[in-house]
Chain length 411, copies 2
């Protein structure tokens, strides 16, 4: 069962929008046992889209489109698919009613242009959109399946899960089972050296490491006839890998690092408070993205100025002058200060130079100090990150979480 | 001059890797006046790649490949291009020498497999890779230009800038000029209705609206013979659009909403402090992503628990009990409290239910109250957002910034 994704949108062709939909669809279709063999992007251009459809129907069994279902005249995906398949466009009364309700519930007036979105190719059926006004469309024409989805990810993703996945599940004879081992504290080449002998002997399950921001993951993928066989193969490979990965693997159940850290804080009856300077609240916001964090998260402070570090975290003025705001001593003082004023057992302090200005030869842009205190024991690390302001801040948060994970394992 | 990008790699087709190279190449080629009409991704699969090359040479003038230049047997891009163009593979002595130096400088031994990377199609020439072992390749065959680039972004990007951009610059007779109008406080269909009459009459410059998270942008693109003519056309279209867009447009200079907000706070001699509950530091972190924000940003508090709202922001206990932690009254009290304790003229308070638990019929998941105080004048809004925990938090921050922008315009 060969799959193809056709993305319609000028904003992707000119590089304005990063194509995250196609990644999401590829991953989801692969997990449903469909081999995605082609991804194609074309503009809002009838002739080129028509050619892309003709090519796709010759070579693929499932063609998933995204984008071009909006209300304006340059949204032309469904009209062009109808043309390629020799269908007419018909008004779908149920979809129109859904749309009226959508606007009524939001106390907004429906624009006349929205009516266009209630039309569908005559041989297709609508897929409900609970998060917007553009319904999706499913067409089976001969042996080929056409699925048309809206462009905005928050409309596309729920629609895929609720309406499309059940259709695709019935199509494929193969089941793809995978497990991702998430590692921290080891680089990709060291890892390849360590488990290369296992990777080499196994083509199915396939073992592939890949680098993520500040960490490395390993994906194990098995293609099998049944779900049970897939699970069995994944477990066998896990047993082979884990003796090597154990010191680095924080999850193989698709949990985020912050989920694992929050879980550990809970299990070890700790509480946490966080003080951030250059990261400006990013670490707190990642930790607070974990549901139920309220039991362990005490407080966060964004102390961007020197004065606020002194006022709120009680960092001694003399220390700031002597060591500088970006120093391991101040990072530790921030961690200890925030833990104390928040009555938390764990404190984290981040201070650094995210740039583009503010660097010196001794303390360059990208230098970040991260301090920790856990049950009265304090420590700090200094990192030198490359990249722009955003990158440096993202790395800082990633390494703060990684170090926190290591420290929590030890208590 | 029609451009096409062909990306070779299984990791993209299974959704493991986000395709950032194609975005980078699209943007860069567009800026050089090449109309990127197609983006294609195929796997490490000779037959499919061959077909993609055949299709591309029929319809495109410049074909840029990425990936598949590595040392292993499944890297086959250049061999397949050679086959399609009826060329043989020849050893490039200069490239081999470069590669030997690369390893020597890094005190590493060159693996025998790397030798493969020093071969090129007979009609092509090598493009130097200063950051890795895979040289790029440039082939002109008839009127078609083939450019083969390595997959890793840190090798691809410098090679594009140094070696490829100078080639492409000489090819295009057209210049593409564009301007993006960033809007807040208006939906896509209302916008289409408002400026539809201008969009309809103009094909070049082309005017295209597109939705972003919680906002809408308009892109105006002009294709002209000279840069000057492009600029002139963009200015003329701006003059046509601005009477309609003025109430909603916060930037047409590619500035982010937070940049504009920070700039306004500076210009109006204000200072800001932020208290966040459900967003957990996200608003602070977006504002702090603006360089030089230290002049106006006083403090941030992440007060996730009820207790910390009372302790740090002096939200009255009785108010919390009477109105509940998620209420406009508490959002205002948070805003006023954080402004007061931080000695800031502007305070923002966000409190809401990001889910997945904690919702009630009266206060459902997705309900978020955002309070503001500016120079002693306070107000609040309640929003009901759809989506998962992360989405609800992202929307909250977007709407907080949008509202802040509107309030700042009024003072």
């Amino acid at each position: 069962m060969i799959g193809e994704i056709i993305c319609v949108g000028n904003e992707i062709l000119i590089g304005d929008t990063l194509n995250t939909n196609t990644r999401y669809l590829s991953k989801s279709m692969t997990n449903l046992g469909i081999e995605v063999a082609y991804q194609v992007v074309v503009g809002d251009h009838e002739e080129r889209l028509l050619e892309a459809i003709e090519t796709a129907r010759r070579r693929s069994d499932v063609i998933v489109f995204t984008g071009g279902l909006g209300p304006t005249y340059d949204d032309m995906t469904k009209e062009t698919v109808a043309k390629a398949l020799d269908m007419t466009m018909v008004l779908d009364e149920a979809a129109l009613e859904d749309m009226r309700l959508f606007f009524e519930q939001r106390k907004r007036t429906m624009a006349e242009t929205n009516r266009k979105q209630a039309y569908r190719p005559s041989g297709g059926r609508m897929l409900r959109n609970e998060n917007g006004t553009a319904p999706g469309i499913y067409i089976k024409d001969g042996e080929t399946h056409y699925i048309l989805l809206p462009g905005p990810p928050k409309e596309l993703m729920p629609m895929f899960e609720k309406e499309v996945a059940p259709i695709l599940e019935t199509l494929s004879a193969n089941v793809i089972t995978s497990r991702i081992f998430q590692l921290s504290g080891i680089g990709e080449s060291d890892l390849a050296e360590m488990i290369g002998h296992i990777m080499d002997i196994s083509d199915n399950p396939r073992i592939a490491p890949y680098a993520k921001l500040g960490s490395v993951n390993i994906r194990v993928t098995a293609i099998t006839g049944t779900k049970e066989e897939g699970k069995k193969q994944i477990e066998e490979t896990t047993a082979l890998l884990m003796p090597f990965l154990e010191p680095y693997c924080y999850s193989y159940e698709d949990k985020s690092l912050e989920e694992v850290v929050v879980q550990m804080i809970k299990e070890k009856n700790q509480t946490i408070a966080i003080a951030e300077s250059c990261t400006g609240g990013l670490l707190s916001s990642r930790i607070i993205n974990v549901p139920g964090v309220s039991k362990v998260y005490r407080n966060g402070f964004v102390t961007y100025s020197n004065g606020s570090k002194e006022t709120w975290l009680k960092v001694p003025h003399a220390l700031m002058v002597k060591e500088g705001a970006v120093s391991e001593a101040v990072a530790i003082a921030m961690a200890e200060g925030v833990a104390k004023v928040s009555d938390a057992s764990i404190g984290v302090g981040i201070t650094g130079i995210a740039g583009p200005d503010g660097g010196t030869p001794e303390k360059p842009v990208g230098m970040v100090c991260i301090g920790f205190t856990i049950n009265g024991k304090s420590s700090a690390n200094t990192f030198y990150f490359n990249g722009n302001r955003k990158k440096i801040r993202d790395y800082s948060v990633q390494y703060a979480l990684t170090t926190l994970y290591s420290l929590l394992r030890e208590i």
